[in-house]
Amino acid sequence: MGEFEVVGKKVERVDVRAKVTGGALYAADVQMAGMLYGKIVRCYDYAHAKVTGLDLTEAAKCKGVIRVLGPDDVTRKEYNASVLDMMVSTDMRGVLGDIDDQNIFTDHVKHYGDAIAAIIATSEEAAERAAEKVRVSYEELPVYLTAEASKQPDALQFRPEKPGNLAFQLPEMAFPDNCYAWGDVDKSFEDADIIVEDTFYVPKQKQCQMEPGSYIALYDDQGRLNCWTSTQMPKLVQKKLANLFELPMTRVKINQTVIGGGFGARLGMVLEPETCALAMAVPGRPVKLLSTREEDWVTSPSRHPGKYWMRMGFKKDGTPVACDARFENYKGAYYVDASGTAFTTGAWLGGMYKFDSLRYHGESYYTNQSICGAFRGYGNPQTNFVMEQLIDRGCAELGVDPIEWRKKWHKTVGDDGWCMGVPYNSCALDECLDRAAEAIGWAEKREKYKHQTGTVRRGIGVAVMNHTSGAMPMLLEHTVCDVLLHQDATATLNLACSDMGQGSHTTLRQVAAETLGFPYEDIHIATGNSDAAGFDIGAHASRTLYVGGGAVKQACEDARRQLFERAALELEESVDNLYMEDKIIHVKGASNKSISVETITDQGVNNFMNPETGERIGQPGQIQGYASFFPPHNAPPFGTTIAEVEVDTETGEVRVLELVNAHDVGKAIHPGVVEGQLDGGAQQGLGMVLTEETYYDDKGICQNNSFTDYKMFGPSDMPKMTNILVENADPTGPFGAKGVGEAGLVPPVGATANAIFNAIGIQILEAPITPEKVLRAIEEKGDII
């Protein structure tokens, strides 16, 4: 691939000026004439209860109150806030068993913070004061917080169509014996010389995006439902709301506001149904609904927690013969995303190593926890924590170097990818491992740390991962883009792709500039208006640059083709004989024959007739490029992290000293954006493995739905970090690019756990690995090496 003009450059990001100066308009900032304010009345006393009485009369009398709404005052149609069901065919939806089981307001509380009723008032204060006057009586029901509890035969059933509270298991029709598998696992284990096995726990991690849920809705005088939201998925939310309120899509408009972080928390609907229901109760008046942080915590999805059992077998020479695994996740109160993560957790497992055989069971059980859904990595961090620790235990028993073993046995080009039957088409993991090992001094440190004494021990550990760029072929991948060339030879991209802060609008603009041959400054990217933009799945699965970029590239190629065809007519040359430089199209080998792009675009719009000849001057018609793009593959990103830690054996405290992340990114369209993704991912990965977990008391009352007692890594907790970008162009990605949105989070999880194993010779089976757990494990073992 030759030199690029815009691709690969650290151009100014489209979003940063507004964000750092405070100019960016988030939904909470939007003010409208006549605006009303909503407040949802939630149940914070129980995690599982029947509503036996709801008295709104006192609330209705409060000053400033416009309406009070109970369950029967809004649509009672059930819905599924997730959009996963819209990414598969109707047939497949039936096979997966996706169901609609949510109500806008409920009379059966299934988790702490479930919605009972709402107030609409003239101010936020008035709405909240009135909400305090709502009287609700409850009949308490037994609380099931784990799969182990809710699967008991005498447990109360969450949904009649999901017996045993088993919301989802891999369906027999697509996955024989309800497992994702190849080979004969039981037989393969007979060949194993070494078997490692354990049951792990992976925590309920929260995205902790900066912006809590903020929405406005207006049911206007044309009968259109307008919703201002920072959703990651405007076009699917448009369709979901259309379905829920039984409106055609032309009567539902999503105005996407600046997204203050997503990480999966805004994948699908969150409080859009509630806000729109409120707005429909007061036609003509905009209604704003703002969540507190504590409320956002329990109403938006988290990562899937649960028990994760795994067993691996190896031959003496290191050959991985079998892997058997079962992930039972604590799904939460509603079905949302029950199928997705239960499958992908096994897909990432299957996509990593060349086991002779593999068998993975993924099951989602209803519990009285808040809902689980998408979170950066979508099952991959859970698998990384378990799989990579067991690989290192196997390596320790085999006496082999963990990096050498991984280089020998990871899957690569031609092997089945995370989706069986779709082989990997590019992989530079070996180079990632070599360069990371070199950068951190792997070999010397592994040797040195074998001989430690004293109370402070150091360790170094590695983990690898495979991921994806878009969810093809499991889920629909499709983005529509059009590019309009203005008369002054600048261009506007029109599409629905979301920028959650990951930099995608910048990189999409770079792809457009490079493809058109225009300067970066000449491109504007127009998003956020669902009336104008064509279809896009939305931001998930590290897809926006790969699929959205593919659409942008194809649309811009279409526009560029039209420019060249017109230039060919004007210059009376064949298209093949033309080239563009500085927005002038030249004839090869004839320096005096050329036409500027601006002449073509101007004549296309301002097309006049020559008064003397009566002929048109130039070629008429404004040029618009268009693409309705379906990617051919999923360009798998691979990556590794090597972590170095220090463990204080007197206190159990773990300090992360250094991380080296080396990722096969295909092509870094904007290296700063890529590094930003890896840095941010590592921060969340370290949090998952060391400090972060949402938890409940026995009654299901959430104990830490705020930053007071949910602890993320802050700037001063972060270690020294080096990012190595391995650019091995993917044959299908735009300019060779792969997705990097999620990859950075994954391997710091396993690498940190393995570094602790290397330091003290103990594996901690439950994440987060807190000092309390480390110290107890050290005491139980009695001796640390």
């Binding site: 204060e125 004061r129 159990g652 705020s706 001063s716 309390e772 107890r776």
Partner: protein
């Protein structure tokens, strides 16, 4: 559950200490004092309700931090944590307090929160408060009848409850001048760097002729209030601080504390690491105050 909306209250803006005292006499427990406000404003969004908030913003003479080698340190009611960090005298003479201020909350909160507010909060997790308990000193209180000083050893009654009467304004905290050979230090453990303490320790040791003459040893998050460890102090006093003595202290510490399980840690863990923390904070004090 928190709220986005604060309780209604009257904000009172007195311009002298006398006016503050007058307002307190009138409103008693139906008034809260606003200095830094970092605890109060959050409480007002939860379930704490008072009708009057008395701001000290316009009251002169309360923002002074003064050190006199003869008289010691006086910390006025509006002195912030950041003011402590800016003071070379505090760093030199009272390392425990300076170290507590250094790790206290976040830069934004340090610029706003006051030292005296931390003492009045009467939390067993107060960092600057713990340093003050180790250093010793008293709270200067004033009401319409006059002034009194309450020794810090007698100031905290129980969780969130102090010896201050409803009509008293806490004017200042006074620390005696450092004795010859006085060394002090503060140390804590947290879940992440920017966090409340899950267990903390501070010491002030008067060293002379290679032995410890007097000792004040204090711990946080091991009981309903910050506590002193008299048994550990007794081991230290008159002793050369040898590895054997430190081992004895590690073993003795757990018997002097009564921690609970809470969201920041467990009783079991606190009992296990308390002695280690005390051992380390003593080492830190002897090592040039640990200001490095």
């Amino acid at each position: 559950m928190t709220s986005r909306v604060m309780r209604d209250f009257d904000l009172l803006l007195p311009e002298s200490v006398a006016e503050v005292v007058d307002l307190l006499t009138r409103h008693k427990n139906n008034a809260a004092i606003l200095a830094g406000g970092t605890d109060l404003l959050i409480a007002l969004k939860f379930d704490y309700a008072v009708d009057n908030v008395i701001s000290l913003a316009l009251v002169p003479g309360l923002a002074e931090l003064t050190f006199d080698p003869e008289k010691g340190l006086v910390i006025g009611a509006r002195v912030t944590i950041a003011d402590i960090l800016k003071s070379p005298e505090v760093r030199e003479n009272y390392p425990a307090l300076w170290q507590a201020a250094k790790v206290f909350a976040t830069p934004q909160l340090r610029n706003t929160a006051t030292v005296l507010g931390n003492v009045l909060r009467a939390s067993p997790a107060g960092d600057c408060s713990l340093a003050l308990l180790a250093l010793g000193g008293s709270v200067l209180l004033k009401n319409s009848r006059g002034e009194r000083e309450v020794d810090i050893d007698n100031f905290w009654i129980s969780y969130g409850v102090t010896a201050r009467q409803d009509d008293e304004l806490a004017m200042a905290f006074k620390i005696p001048p450092p004795a010859a050979g006085q060394k002090s230090a503060f140390r804590r453990m947290t879940r992440t760097t920017e966090d409340l303490s899950k267990i903390s320790a501070a010491v002030s040791l008067q060293m002379g002729g290679g032995t410890c003459q007097t000792a004040r040893v204090a711990m946080g998050c091991v009981g309903p209030t910050l506590v002193r460890l008299p048994g550990v102090e007794k081991i230290l006093e008159g002793a050369e601080i040898s590895p054997e003595v430190l081992q004895e202290i590690v073993a003795a510490t757990a018997a002097e504390i009564n921690p609970i399980d809470d969201k920041r840690s467990s009783a079991e863990y606190r009992l296990k690491v308390a002695g280690v923390l005390v051992k380390r904070v003593i080492g830190q004090a002897l090592d040039n105050g640990g200001n490095n």
